[in-house]
Symmetry: C2
Subunit: 352 residues, 2 copies
């Protein structure tokens, strides 16, 4: 765990320090587009079996790093481990995504929820972080993560993904005090969880706010932004000097407000013009993004052109981590991901 870091481009870029070339990683880089992942998954049984076994989580975390010269590893886990540890019974219905056996609907449901102790109730995650840090042996930094309080709340109240958020938004609109109670509890749980991941060895953390973009502006500020800001404050107050990245999908309208939380970097999706995003937040945070994941289905020459366009859009100077604008899709050809990563390193080095 104490091996010196051989490649610190990613951490330097998050701190807006100069780098020899733009660092790159991919959301869901440990995932179904890799045949070796699918093989590991077939051996493991269920998705949650892989998440819960530190050795398996470690194996799939390092798989993409064996293939590609990525500048960071990200813990293989799920965004819904916290509500699972709260006793809601996370499970996956094939082809339909996550479900909870016990959705949270009433004041009583909310008050009954305990805040999980990460080192006991989410120990398998901390063990995975420690195992991965050892396996990485200082080659690249390890990113820890959590779902945002609002994103966790959407799944907990709806009981599943793929809805229009009728149930959770009705709760937010009709019973704002109760919604706050749930979000306060989740902000507490997320802060403790990320603190524990950092203590276990995570060298940066990312909060995935997958559904913040589904809210109207006022709701976004109250239910998505405010609890994330609480988490950032808690992490900074704990003097844990790891960079914190916030990624709100569809968060384009809110970049200034997200940057003002005190986080170190913002992930941006592909609908945002990166240069415009930078103009709006420059000097405050680094930016991470933002190639359309579907572009990886195009020819490698086109991928290289788009990488070039995004590097140009960000422009000169530090503070850019290259990434997709959302998770890599399961049908993506791995050699196209390779073409993107190579283009990022080559073209950004040539621009320096």
């Amino acid at each position: 765990m104490s091996s010196p870091l051989k490649n610190d481009r990613f951490l330097r870029a998050l701190r807006r320090q100069p780098v020899d070339c733009t660092p790159v990683w991919m959301m869901r880089q440990a995932g179904r587009y890799l045949p070796e992942y699918r093989a590991a998954r077939a051996r493991a049984g269920s998705f949650m079996d892989m998440v819960c076994a530190p050795e398996l989580a470690c194996e799939v975390t390092v798989q993409p790093l064996r293939r590609f010269p990525l500048d960071a590893a990200i813990l293989f886990s799920d965004i819904l481990t916290i509500p699972d540890a709260m006793g809601l019974g996370l499970h996956f219905v094939e082809g339909e995504g996550p479900r909870f056996r016990q959705p949270v609907r009433t004041a009583e449901d909310i008050r009954r929820l305990g805040v999980p102790d990460p080192e006991t109730e989410l120990r398998y995650v901390m063990d995975a972080v420690r195992t991965i840090r050892q396996a990485l042996d200082g080659s690249v930094p390890l990113i820890g993560f959590s779902g945002s309080p609002w994103t966790l709340a959407t799944y907990m109240v709806e009981g599943q993904g793929g809805t229009e958020f009728q149930t959770v938004k009705k709760l937010a609109y009709d019973e704002p005090a109760l919604m706050n109670e749930l979000l306060d509890k989740l902000a507490d749980a997320v802060a403790l969880y990320l603190e524990a991941q950092i203590k276990a060895g995570a060298q940066a953390v990312q909060i995935f706010d997958t559904w913040g973009g589904a809210l109207a502006p006022d709701g976004f500020r109250r239910h998505s932004l405010a609890p994330m800001a609480t988490v950032v404050r808690r992490l900074k107050k704990a003097a844990l000097e790891v960079p914190v990245i916030l990624f709100t999908k569809g968060g384009g309208p809110h970049l200034e407000a997200l940057a003002a939380t005190g986080c170190d970097a913002l992930g941006v999706d592909w609908t945002v013009e990166l240069g415009q995003a930078r103009a709006r937040v420059d000097g405050r945070v680094a930016l991470q993004g933002n190639l359309d994941p579907v572009l990886l289905f195009a020819r490698p020459e086109r991928i290289r052109e788009e990488v070039s366009r995004i590097l140009d859009s960000y422009g000169q100077g530090p503070g850019h981590v290259f990434n997709l604008g959302h998770g890599i899709l399961p049908e993506t050809p791995p050699e196209h991901a390779a073409a993107m990563i190579q283009a990022v390193h080559e073209l950004s080095a040539a621009r320096r």
Copy 2:
């Protein structure tokens, strides 16, 4: 068809002329949330049977006007009538949305597509417009509509909804000239279709760009915005003096560019702060929107508060048509829609 219009608030607001109170209609106002619609649908057989029979389309178009004091009617039809008339075999798989039997994938597929003649191949739509105009008898104006060229292309190339747009975006990225050929043909078809609807009696038209927001900024300009701008130019050149509304879901980043097409109004979804949208386009177009459709699941008092907030956000002066930020959801209680409509009229009249 020549009865004078008794309620012209909607048309006046689109032209940014003063009105006694803010006009309101709802996207998908003729739809499954109404028991009388579900009854008509059960009698008719399939959804397309209703769309294709002018008397049935007329019946469901006027249903919401019998219940609510709406300020406009919108033709009951489907956004995919054009590709259906092109011979792609539109059909609906229960619970999964639209499908095409013959998706468009190759240069040959695209070159084979004919541009439908609206008065023959889409005659059932024109007959529906004429029938509805007679039934309305000048009570409120009738809105015609079409899907945008890009939105039609996504369904035609993917063959279905609910995808991440891998196939259509791959075509756009790898073969831009071919994509343009498809979009040019669709822009021609949409312009002819809307011209014919206007000649048949539509008093305003709306272009639904449901999937423009899925594109990266450059792709949006090329594939969504440019063909819509062509349609607007064609309609304006034909000296058809009906207002044209463009509605790009997720189009928040592009309001200035959309306003510059020469359209009369922009629909905006609920993720946009209406006052900010107005500041960005004011003096050029009217704005239509933008209550979160899910808010209609909240208590009527909360609905009224949100209506008030949106009216305040738009502010004083003409040019606002109240609407939802997307289609009304099938599970919406009709009495909550009534509460919204009443609040819009009362609160906006009180502010004048």
